[in-house]
Symmetry: C2
Subunit: 331 residues, 2 copies
């Protein structure tokens, strides 16, 4: 089957067999300012090339799953007012079915990642699971009692747009103090920019390639070298993430909170432990019991794994490989 | 059947038939500092008295449902570290079964209320429903895809302990800036106390019986008389409630948010419209679509109705009377 992780900046396509083995994958940039037709062209070219390289015949493709940035209406698969793609209302699913003639499932990227973790991750089979991506933005996917929970129209999981500091930093969504405005990659980049303008953050600038803007990566390098400003900023970011995750643990009582996304995985050594500690200390006893907070083991491929899970479900072959709770390690 | 709404200050017991008709109810104070055995005595006395008055025979009682303050573990029915009851770990369900020999279901009060709304409220049959009680404290019950969602161990729904103002007012739970610390009845009482100590709030004091402490009720009276300080404080409370509910709408994408609880119902004329407006203006377009925000029509009896629903479910007779979406009015 073909899985496609369509992002605002990159498209990651993969050919995957029904066991979840990735036979081949290819990453190309998302054409800037492209209309949906052009993006579909790129996806189809990419998949065709991959089929050739992996020596898989087109007729062997049983389904196509595409993960798109939200908001995405479900079950229609209509991309709605997407800030990342710049599309207002595109029926991506219908278009893809028309052009390929194959069964297609379109799902919000964070939902797809939650499915990936639930079917193929270390916490597979964990029915009360919350996936959170911390990257340029922050989003989530919620598994409730063994099922992906999309809410009334597909809009569930927008955990980055939970205000945790009323009146705080402005968010792209128009509100103030959203978790995404305080603890995402773009929040860090903006904060570093402010610091540099005020003549601060020299240690972080020293870790930045000339002419480039410092971001989470450079912040991490500086912090690992012991830079105090970098460490302080990371402590603040970890606390905001901790507040947001503790909120969600009190609201949803998940068994496992799985963290992913470029920024989180890149700064795992610096962020994971303080986030875990904050959450364990700040939730109700009952909600803390058994609670696992960890980074996904599926790395960047988590969305592709979700695509496999989604196609298997679409074809009625989705059985979640459950593992005994005892085999799950905490933290 | 017998339904019991066990609160920190009052016990409301009712005899209800399987159609949800309340045949009789009785309200008694919760004995202060009582141990579980004493509380069970009060509940059983209360129910016995009601059976007599309603001329229902003991053998006609097919089940007993008790709603307790959280946290409550599920399915065990163990009250855990309850600040309202002052109990650390009490297997209330087991005790009640032992003493009555009847089928018993014990459920967190906010969950029971969500069931009440889902089975008997104006929004009955609405599968993606969030119930929020705004009273001395703030709590919630979540219906996901037609089922009560309790999370991994029964701890889901603690929406009052979502931090919306990092570093804000201290909360009973030990955190700072929880919704409950900013917008509940106890938050208002505390704020009014501070105001009075600073020589403010004279208009609100004028509406307060001599020797008593002003609270949400007095705040409402003063606001209705046009008192500026009262109106300003209510505006702030409505905004905090709006922030919290908008967060939950972004996270869960419910079809309906149903508000209840003594404070909310008592201040409905002053709070509902500003809360609705705030939420409609501050959530994603997709999450706003079809969204209903209203006060429950079941008033103080919502938990009793939930008890009926819970017993019907326990007896395998729970069918949710669904209504066509078109018949639901917005707001």
């Amino acid at each position: 089957m073909v899985g496609v992780d369509l992002g605002g900046t990159k498209i990651l396509a993969g050919i995957v067999d029904t066991n979840g083995t990735i036979l081949g994958k290819k990453r190309v940039p998302t054409p800037v300012g492209a209309d949906p037709d052009q993006v579909l062209d790129v996806i189809i070219d990419c998949a065709t090339e991959l089929l050739r390289v992996c020596r898989v015949k087109e007729e062997e493709i049983r389904g196509i799953a595409v993960a798109t940035p939200g908001p995405l209406s479900f079950p229609e698969g209509v991309v709605r007012d997407s800030p990342n793609l710049g599309w207002e209302r595109v029926n991506f699913k219908e278009e893809l079915i028309r052009r390929t003639g194959r069964p297609v499932i379109v799902e919000k990227d964070t939902n797809m990642a939650a499915l990936g973790e639930y079917y193929f991750g270390r916490q597979r089979g964990c029915g009360d699971l919350l996936y959170i991506t911390v990257s340029t933005g922050i989003g989530g996917g919620i598994i409730c009692a063994g099922k992906l929970y999309r809410g009334h129209l597909g809009g569930a999981g927008e955990v980055g747009h939970m205000v945790v500091e009323a009146g705080g930093a402005a968010c792209n969504c128009g509100r103030r103090g959203c978790l995404e405005a305080l603890a995402s990659g773009s929040a860090i980049t903006r904060r570093l920019d402010e610091m540099v303008k005020q003549g601060q953050g020299q240690g972080i600038l020293n870790c930045t390639t000339a002419g480039e803007q410092p971001g989470p990566r450079e912040l991490g390098i500086a912090a690992r070298q012991g830079d105090e400003e970098a460490r302080l900023l990371l402590t603040q970011v970890a606390e905001y993430l901790g507040i947001g995750i503790a909120n969600l643990v009190n609201i949803l009582n998940p068994r496992a909170v799985i963290l992913g996304g470029g920024m989180m995985l890149g700064l795992k050594d610096l962020l994971l432990a303080p986030v875990q500690n904050y959450v364990y200390e700040h939730v109700f006893n009952l909600n803390r019991e058994d609670l696992i907070i960890e980074c996904t083991s599926l790395d960047d491929d988590i969305v592709l794994y979700g695509c496999v899970a989604a196609v298997l479900k679409l074809l009625g072959q989705g059985t979640c490989p459950s593992v005994p709770l005892g085999e799950r390690s905490r933290g």
